[in-house]
Symmetry: C3
Subunit: 219 residues, 3 copies
Amino acid sequence: MRARIAPKIKLQKHIADRLLLAVDLAGTFVFAVGGAMAGIRSHLDVFGVMVVSFASAAGGGIIRDLLIGAVPPASIRDRRYALAAFAGGAVVFFLHRYVGEIPYPMMIGFDAAGLALVAVSGAAKALDHKIDPFMSVLLGAISGSGGGTIRDVLLTHVPAILRVDVYAVAALAGAGVMVAGIQRGLPRNVMMGVGFAVCFLLRVVSVWRHWNLPTVSGP
Amino acid sequence: MRARIAPKIKLQKHIADRLLLAVDLAGTFVFAVGGAMAGIRSHLDVFGVMVVSFASAAGGGIIRDLLIGAVPPASIRDRRYALAAFAGGAVVFFLHRYVGEIPYPMMIGFDAAGLALVAVSGAAKALDHKIDPFMSVLLGAISGSGGGTIRDVLLTHVPAILRVDVYAVAALAGAGVMVAGIQRGLPRNVMMGVGFAVCFLLRVVSVWRHWNLPTVSGP
Amino acid sequence: MRARIAPKIKLQKHIADRLLLAVDLAGTFVFAVGGAMAGIRSHLDVFGVMVVSFASAAGGGIIRDLLIGAVPPASIRDRRYALAAFAGGAVVFFLHRYVGEIPYPMMIGFDAAGLALVAVSGAAKALDHKIDPFMSVLLGAISGSGGGTIRDVLLTHVPAILRVDVYAVAALAGAGVMVAGIQRGLPRNVMMGVGFAVCFLLRVVSVWRHWNLPTVSGP
């Protein structure tokens, strides 16, 4: 069967792989930015900020890759993930001196973009590894929220995934829409875009609407 | 050698596999119930409760499977684990509105049953993967207490495994009795029952006896 | 190519493997001592101390082995790691009754030695598994600080890796010097010694110099 793959399909596979890598690296950078912002708000020094950036950025993808059996994980095998994470951390660390305190909406926006990118690419990679579609949607949400959860655990906060109503839910919705579309034969790249939009918008709108609601917090 | 396995042994293997799966799914459900109770006590909303249920229920087994090299872990490969976890979480979330606050002894009983089920099935699965018997006992304890530890870390509590005297010890005792019996040629299914009883009783009795002792807490 | 390995090279490989094992076991013991000290300072009982000892001692190596795809991890496959960890925990638990409170500089010294041993052996093992040199240095730091990070998370402290200026940096420096030397063809065992010395001295000296500096803490 493998030998019969037509060159055109091979090329499409190659483009899909490169798109997945690009999305994954973009998500890594954006999550590193969010992690670095949280680190600076917790008054960490430059090294602590870099650690939190890397953990936030690579954590979700590493958990996903360990769970689907793709070892060594992409962000260990390929140094570009670590470089993207450190670049995100460094940009925040050196820019924030000029721009003062980073506004909260910007943090939310960056985090929502990272969540959407990583949830979508995480679910797509799980499907590629022949994981059940239902579990692939969960893996999208786990990879989307895993890095932020590690970040919050390291900073001894109750993780955002537990505090915030529509965080995991946004990731599930985005990954779910994408997986459902792919299962129905719709084009993969289009569905990745749709899944990204669903997750990002749902997350941002939910923050806007719930702005003044009391947050649910631990005891 | 494989071709010489008699049908009877094959059938016994099949029954043993199904028993291990049933025990594992029951442990998953019960741990999800315990996780959901802890989530409700921490005033999480329905989504947070589901996250804590899944993490509590699947966490120990996932750690065990990663450590013994059984990837993707059973609870990622087989969607029934996630469904059992979400069922446990949903039962608690929707029942607790009717029964009011869940009494502490019931939480302890559920948690002890989950600990015993998962410790026993965790050690048995490690033996199946040719892990050293001593380490299999430890892996039983790790899989029994891993989910609860993840739950406590997410809720920023000092984990029960460190606060509570006879938690890890009960899991070690149950798994240890089972592994010792199997190593001496006693029937596997019987030893799983004995191991379960040892762990469950040791845990429940220890809570009863130590009821009024000051808890050991972090600084 | 494999069949052409000369007996002398085979013997050197054997010696290198045994050295790596010895360094790894020594690091395990020393990290267990540090973990047990932290456990006693947090007023844990003997079982909690053993759990923290094992988690501190084996945690970094287990994370490293999962990330480089060496499963089951060494400390699960080989019971000597667990025994070294429990020995370290037991020595501290039973000695500290005689020596009273363990002085802080001794804790720092032990922890620095563990950090150096595990950072160096972690980076060397990553190189052996054909991991990119840059990522191998990071993996040395991750395996050096992973156990302590798990310890701090379990005790609900903000991890030392975030609080302390030159912790991860010392591990990176030691692993980096070692990997750079090996890449340039210098003898592996010599470079492991140099890497150990760089990491240990950098860590100890930094604690001495920064003794009275305010610690960077979470919010």
